[in-house]
């Protein structure tokens, strides 16, 4: 039933540039002729908590958030957060994971340990897993802040959005100073 709406869920930790990334993804989808809605919750201190952003697109989108078991692509910016939102994915859904660990307080305090086998757990349920070393690629580009653009590049392989549109949106979003590094980060992410 429904409107053939597709869903992407971005997940990670405050400060990783997730809301900015989902803005860029939505602009590209909108420029490709889709109806688009996105939703996130922020507030309650500035940094350090979980951040998610739902992106939904299609002919006509009603809900800006997805139900569990419905998401097509989980774009995860942090390994542990992948597990937290895994049950939003539909069977056979795609997982793109940034190979980065950010310890939550209970791990920092030594009360629990950070799960070691994240990729293995994810792979147990979802065969389509793409791991991206976004931080390494971003440092290769020369600006660690482009890690979120690397992730957008990795996602772009799975979306029907032309490369010209992606570049046009990056052009629109980034200042001249940051543009070159971000375009490079996007392409390295795309071919990663």
């Amino acid at each position: 039933m429904g409107y053939n709406t597709k869903s992407i869920l971005l997940a990670g930790v405050g400060g990783q540039g997730i809301l900015r990334a989902s803005d860029i993804i939505c602009m590209a989808l909108m420029a490709s002729g889709y109806d688009v809605k996105k939703s996130e919750v922020h507030g309650m201190a500035q940094r350090g908590g979980c951040v998610t952003s739902h992106v939904r697109y299609g002919e006509k989108v009603y809900s800006p958030i997805s139900k569990k078991g419905e998401v097509d692509i989980l774009l995860s910016f942090e390994k542990l957060e992948t597990l937290r939102y895994l049950d939003f994915l539909q069977p056979g859904g795609t997982v793109i994971i940034n190979n980065e660990e950010i310890y939550p307080p209970s791990v920092n305090l030594g009360q629990v340990s950070y799960p070691e086998n994240v990729f293995e757990i994810v792979n147990r349920y979802f065969p389509e897993v793409k791991v991206v070393n976004a931080a390494d690629i971003a440092s290769k580009v020369g600006d660690f802040r482009t890690a979120n653009t690397v992730m957008i590049g990795a996602l772009s392989r799975y979306l029907e959005v032309g490369i010209v549109i992606w570049e046009r949106i990056l052009n629109k979003v980034f200042s001249e100073k940051l543009l070159k590094a971000n375009v490079e980060a996007f392409h390295l992410g795309r071919s990663a």
Binding site: V41, G43, A45, S63, G110, V112
Partner: protein, 598 residues
Amino acid sequence: MKELLSGNEAIARGAYECGVRFAAGYPGTPSTEIMESFAKYKDAYAEWSPNEKVAMEVGIGAAVAGSKAMVVMKHVGVNVAADPLFTVSYTGTNSALVIVTADDPSLHSSQNEQDNRNYAKFAKIPMIEPSSSQEAKDYIKLAFEISRKFDTPVFLRTTTRLSHSKSVVEIEEPSAVEEDKTQITPDARKYVMVPVNARARRIEVEKRLDLLRNFAEEFSENRIEWNSTDSGIISAGMAYNYAKDVFPDFSYLKLGMVYPLPEKMIREFAARVKKLYIVEELDPFIEEQVKAMGIHAIGKEVFPVTNEFDPGIVERAITGMAVRQDALPAMDIPPRPPNLCPGCPHRGLFYVLGRLKVFVAGDIGCYTLSYMEPLAGLHSCICMGASIGMAHGMSKALKEKGRGKVVGVIGDSTFVHSGITSLLNTAYNKSDAVIVICDNRTTAMTGMQDHPATGWTLKGEKTKKLDFSVLASALGIDSVRILDPGNIRETRTILKEELLKEGPSVVISSGPCILLNARKPAAGKRLVVDPQKCTGCRLCLGLGCPPISWRKFQQEPELPAGGGRRKQEGVAYIDPTLCVGCTLCRQICSAGAIIEEE
């Protein structure tokens, strides 16, 4: 031209497009960006008022003077503004007055989950509720039309999910600037609400409600979408989207106006569908009114009363599916609560407070997070401004037992919002509590908004700057101290001294929010742990600072590290990408193991 706008941005845009040039509000998630977006229009007047009650009164004044006015606040802000609200319902608005209330189902960033649709019924004020950014932009215009037409304040209700979701909006040219119609027109019988006049206006309020009930039947945004008549849904706002998403084949009565309700339309819809559901988040607000019409409907029997919905919740409630069949097995995933930033000035203060064996009556702001382990330096949070009154009440009730044991802590913006009168009370009624104002020079939690003590207005103009020390003295506080929360020893010494004193005192914990200067280089050099000196005592972990973690030895160290007297299991580690060099950890490290990088 089409743009992707948040609900909040769309409300600001819609107000501007329909000629509104006057707005007042107080920051509060999820409403804050409405005022921030509106203030960017150069020819619009927009102010952060000290609190929502003031904002409401400012809006009333502007409307009575003939200007269209918008006042903006989060749901609990309406509680603060309720006093003028209930009476402006009587006086009417002359020009137009729209109150935007941003509710927070699921308490994403609030202390309660109140459903402000109840205020519409309570104050006898119409309320409209959009379900998308496009509707948010359209409805704010309709709200101003209704206000002017019926001489009534109008509520526009949004929720977190609408305010903070983005969807496609058609941007229009602003309507031609209206000629200035502001003027002074005294009308005592309408605006002086002494009993004799208020009794007369009271009758007008009921007449107006009758007119609005008729209007609701014709209102274009109350609309029926006929599909299969086996099942029908009455819904409004975000919940409508969730239902449409999972039940596209049902018939819908989509209410754009949630108070007063279009009774005839509801009866017509109910008569034609076999099964009627009412899909609404939080209170059974529509449901109770529909059921009072004698109509059979299914509502909170199957839908939750708490928390926001999503398409899955609506689907499960209606189909009766208890849980998902294909759900993954439960996993034990460490939580990731929000935390104070590295370098946050609150950390040093609450580290000390948490170890002083005092009751800390807290307030609303980032520092509320200090209640969590390991800081555990805050013991209550009720509402904006409650800290000072509570601390005073506790100190009076405890009498001698409370000597040196009760502290009230309040942020700078919160103090200006609703702490001043209660601080006056501590002097007037001879309190014994110590009041700490955490002055980080901004309204941090909602994202860096100015207030009367920052010296800047919402429009970015320099202005008078409130001086907390001078104010406290003027209110009758004899002992006013200023401390640097980045210095743990000084913080502890001054707090202890003030706790010993008789009578109320004020301590200003003065340190700017670390994010205020985010673009400037960090104040100090980044710190690292010398693993040879670290004794593994874990004292630094008590700061709950995000860069500091504990690394257990993978194998027994070959040499006893750091000369630790007992068997050492690991060392502290500081993540260099997160540390900003605030030095709190170095100040408390007794082994001298924390040193500057390089």
